[in-house]
């Protein structure tokens, strides 16, 4: 099993006001990540392993006992929901991982899953015959 992850291929996401909104285009579920969740998400998107996540959070917030457990729980939730998938080692964002804190307090990651869009998939599913990624492109 790989130690490294990347954002799932069918996941689109944006961070607004310190909250990550992620939508799974494959099944219509959508998710909210708050607290220290967006930071973990950013580190994961940068190629961090679980151990690197723990180290990065400790560098940012200090040696807080809850961090290891929180990271483990959140990674489990993200993997189970398909938001992240295992990946090969990629060059991580070293600057982001090593960034020292500026005094902000550690917050437990908060993870919410919403499934109220699933009806649309059940009623109106799309069967792809052939696809070309990234289509259509807005006019320049």
């Amino acid at each position: 099993m790989s130690e490294y992850f990347r954002i799932g291929p069918e996941i689109v996401h944006e961070t607004v006001d310190g909250e990550v909104i992620a939508i799974d285009l494959d099944n219509g579920s959508y998710y909210s990540l708050a607290g220290s969740g967006p930071l973990v998400w950013e580190l994961l998107a940068g190629g961090a392993s679980e151990a690197e996540l723990r180290d990065a959070l400790a560098a940012r917030f200090g040696a807080i006992e809850a961090i290891a457990g929180d990271v483990s729980v959140l990674l489990g939730q993200l993997r189970e929901s398909g938001l992240i998938v295992e990946a090969e080692r990629e060059a991580g964002n070293a600057a982001l991982m090593a960034k020292a804190g500026d005094g902000e307090a550690y917050e437990t990651p908060r993870f919410e899953r919403y499934t109220d869009m699933k009806d649309y998939f059940l009623l109106d599913p799309i069967h792809e015959v052939d696809s070309a990624g990234g289509w259509p492109r807005p006019a320049a």
Partner: protein, 375 residues
């Protein structure tokens, strides 16, 4: 790097081929059964609807007449060609895909895409849409316009418009838009959240309305543009709002894929003068059915006994959660671009939740006050 000719021929060309074939069928239909066209401006873009045969012209011309305008160019930037077999006598090309079954109450869609074209074949409604968004052209076909499915009348040529407009930076957004003096708010939330009832309450109270359910959003200018001139209402909402029978479509209340039966309401008949082509957006409002009180007024209860509507500021992230999932899930393509555009919107304008009162007029007044206060 461009695909090699061999690679381009393999598979990806199915969409291009079918788009070309359906276009040829439309031209044959126009020669055989006559035609007609409607020139209009939608979301600031010149668009020509071309009809072959009388069937779809009868059904789908009226919902777009409010956008009619003479076009300066002989060939407008966008053109959608519409025909049905029953009134034109011309069959569409044979499918280039394996047919799929549509269980009752569902509408699965076969989709073919290439770099240039997209084909959507709905197995339930049997609607065919083929588009070349970059070229600004689309073709729409139904077997028989007299048996047009309720979903196609409620959101006419939605897929064709969505595809052509997305290629020009106009994002079809699952939201209503109402306001006053050319500025207003986007009403967001999934089906059943109360968007349509609130939008029509506002129109009846004298506010301007662009749409109850779908708008074309121009993210850079924060503008919501109108498409069709119809809205959808449940029988319960129509009764509560006192919608006159003359404004309700003669087909009456028909079952919908997503839930309760709804009827089409002609916004021009419902609130003459209220329907506008566009509004500048100043905020996002997410109506919510109140947990404080029943949504219905029990027999004998007076309206002044019920709690008033409450408007409260919510975070940009909550606003994004209210508008983005249903927009993106229903569109089926361009999810990342749509989410980025909607995130840009919630960063630029404030988001509010409106805890609805059972009194439609009170809800409309609350929105009116909010719009007035937004400047």
């Amino acid at each position: 790097m461009p695909a090699s000719p061999a690679a381009a021929r393999a598979g990806a060309d199915l969409a291009d081929t079918y788009f070309g074939q359906l276009g040829e069928c439309f031209e044959r239909a126009a020669r055989a059964a006559g035609g007609g066209s409607l020139d209009l401006e939608m979301a600031g873009l010149p668009l020509r609807l071309r009809f072959a045969g009388a069937g779809l012209r009868k059904e789908l011309l009226a919902p777009f007449e409010h956008l009619a305008t003479p076009l300066a160019a002989a060939e407008p930037a966008l053109a959608i060609s519409l025909f049905d077999t029953a009134s034109s006598g011309v069959e569409p090309p044979a499918p280039l895909w394996d047919p799929i079954e549509a269980p009752p109450g569902t509408n699965p869609v076969v989709r073919l895409r290439s770099e240039r074209a997209c084909v959507l074949a709905a197995a339930g409604s049997r609607a065919l849409t083929a588009a070349a968004p970059g070229a600004g052209a689309a073709v729409f076909h139904l077997p028989d316009a007299t048996a047009i499915p309720a979903s196609e009348r409620a959101a006419p040529i939605r897929e064709a418009l969505q595809l052509l407009m997305a290629a020009r930076g106009r994002l079809m957004t699952h939201a209503g838009a109402i306001g006053r003096g050319g500025r207003g708010v986007l009403l967001v939330g999934r089906g059943g959240s109360g968007k349509s009832t609130l939008a029509l309450s506002c129109a009846l109270a004298g506010l301007e309305i662009v749409a109850d359910d779908y708008v074309l959003l121009e993210p850079d200018s924060l503008t919501a543009h109108a498409m069709q001139s119809t809205a959808k209402l449940t029988e319960d909402s129509a009764e509560r709002l006192g919608v006159p029978a003359a404004a309700i479509d003669s087909a009456g209340f028909e079952p919908t894929l997503e839930g309760p039966a709804k009827a089409l309401v002609d916004l021009r008949a419902l609130a003459p003068g209220a329907l506008k082509q566009q509004l500048g957006l100043r905020a996002i409002v997410a109506p919510m059915l109140s947990l404080r009180q029943p949504a219905h007024i029990a027999g004998g209860r007076r309206l002044d006994d019920v709690a008033p509507p409450l408007i409260r500021r919510i975070s940009a992230a909550e606003g994004l959660r209210a508008v983005a999932p249903s927009t993106i899930v229903q569109s089926g393509f361009g999810g990342a671009e749509s989410l980025t555009a909607l995130a840009g919107l919630v960063r630029r304008v404030p988001s509010y939740a409106l805890d609805l009162s059972p009194d439609p007029a009170a809800n409309a007044a609350a929105v009116d006050r909010l719009v007035a206060g937004l400047g």
